[in-house]
Symmetry: C2
């Protein structure tokens, strides 16, 4: 029986190390595909179309919404961000587990529409460590860091809606932990409906002495 | 932060190999404790009190019910069967994952009272394989085997209520799969409430500039 892949959403506090985790996960294991988001915001230096984002204009984005071509979308600061549906569905049908790194609202939007999605939330081991990592980046002002702490407080309220909470303390351990979680998530009954149906049918046949 | 263990309930079709799986799991990994059930039925040859069951009389069993000393109990063919609460709670507090092998009704009774329980359902890869294993035991009559198939059909309806469905095809692989599932189940947010509370509190402190 050919097994479908799973859609896996990774969210987490700013500074939790999501980007690095996802990259390492993709490098180490070959059963994953990375979903690339679509956005109307401008391309920044070093960003590539189709790698970091699919960069489109507002007209194209709104057409895609109307054609029901997105799993979820949201708008921030006048720009759209969304997840193209076609790529995800194709990869899942081919048995790949598709990784999608998005924030809390989008994650819950997807879980509501596709309950078999696995929602993972990544956190540093402590709030102090979160602050250290944000400061270590040297890209954010003190004010921006405190704004992110405020946002983390809001996000923490949504953690119970996630399927798994993972501590990113040691990077390699965390990558393996994510991989184990995703692997075992395939064992949820909702993700094995074909197997359940097959065994039920077989039992019925035996029971009727056919 | 000291981590509590989890209560893990293993159910499955008759002939799925639950008993062997549980024994192997206990032999291979040292983080498990096995919960021993209490019963009023007579001790059979080769059975030991405190190992296979705690054998008690009806009066003692009913006293235990009244004292709320059981996680769940049921009565079959005039005998009581139940899970003593004290042992399970003590082992969980010591960080052990407690394994409990019980049937579907008891499993769902426990999940309702203790939502953080992990419910695992074990199945052979096919109904034919189930029949082969039951016949291979040479202990059951043809009639008894068909009665068990009928029961399996009923039990199959309850699989979606379980957290995980595990195929017991290769024994060693299945033992490792059970171990991975139980290990990653610790990552559910509901089983890490202490961590969530700690980080929320730390973030609040930072946010207030204390």
């Amino acid at each position: 029986m050919k097994k479908n892949g799973i859609l896996v959403v990774i969210s987490g506090f700013s500074g939790a190390g999501k980007g690095t985790l996802v990259r390492k996960l993709m490098e180490k294991y070959d059963n994953y595909s990375l979903s690339v988001s679509m956005t109307t915001r401008d391309k920044r230096d070093g960003e590539e179309d189709g790698v970091h984002y699919f960069f489109v204009d507002h007209r194209k984005f709104e057409q895609t919404i109307i054609q029901d071509g997105l799993l979820e979308y949201a708008s921030y600061c006048g720009n759209y961000y969304g997840t193209p549906k076609e790529y995800v569905e194709k990869q899942i049908a081919e048995g790949k587990d598709v990784i999608l790194e998005i924030e809390v609202q989008g994650a819950l939007q997807i879980k509501k529409k596709f309950p078999n999605t696995v929602l993972l939330f990544v956190t540093p081991p402590s709030a102090d460590e979160l602050i250290n990592r944000l400061k270590g980046r040297n890209t954010e002002s003190e004010e921006e860091i405190y704004r992110r702490v405020g946002r983390a407080i809001e996000e923490a309220e949504w953690i119970p809606k996630y399927d798994f909470l993972v501590i990113n303390d040691d990077l390699d351990e965390c990558v393996d932990s994510l991989h184990n979680i995703i692997t075992t998530a395939h064992n949820a009954p909702g993700r094995q409906q074909d197997l359940i149906d097959k065994i039920k049918k077989e039992l019925e046949v035996i029971s009727k002495g056919e």
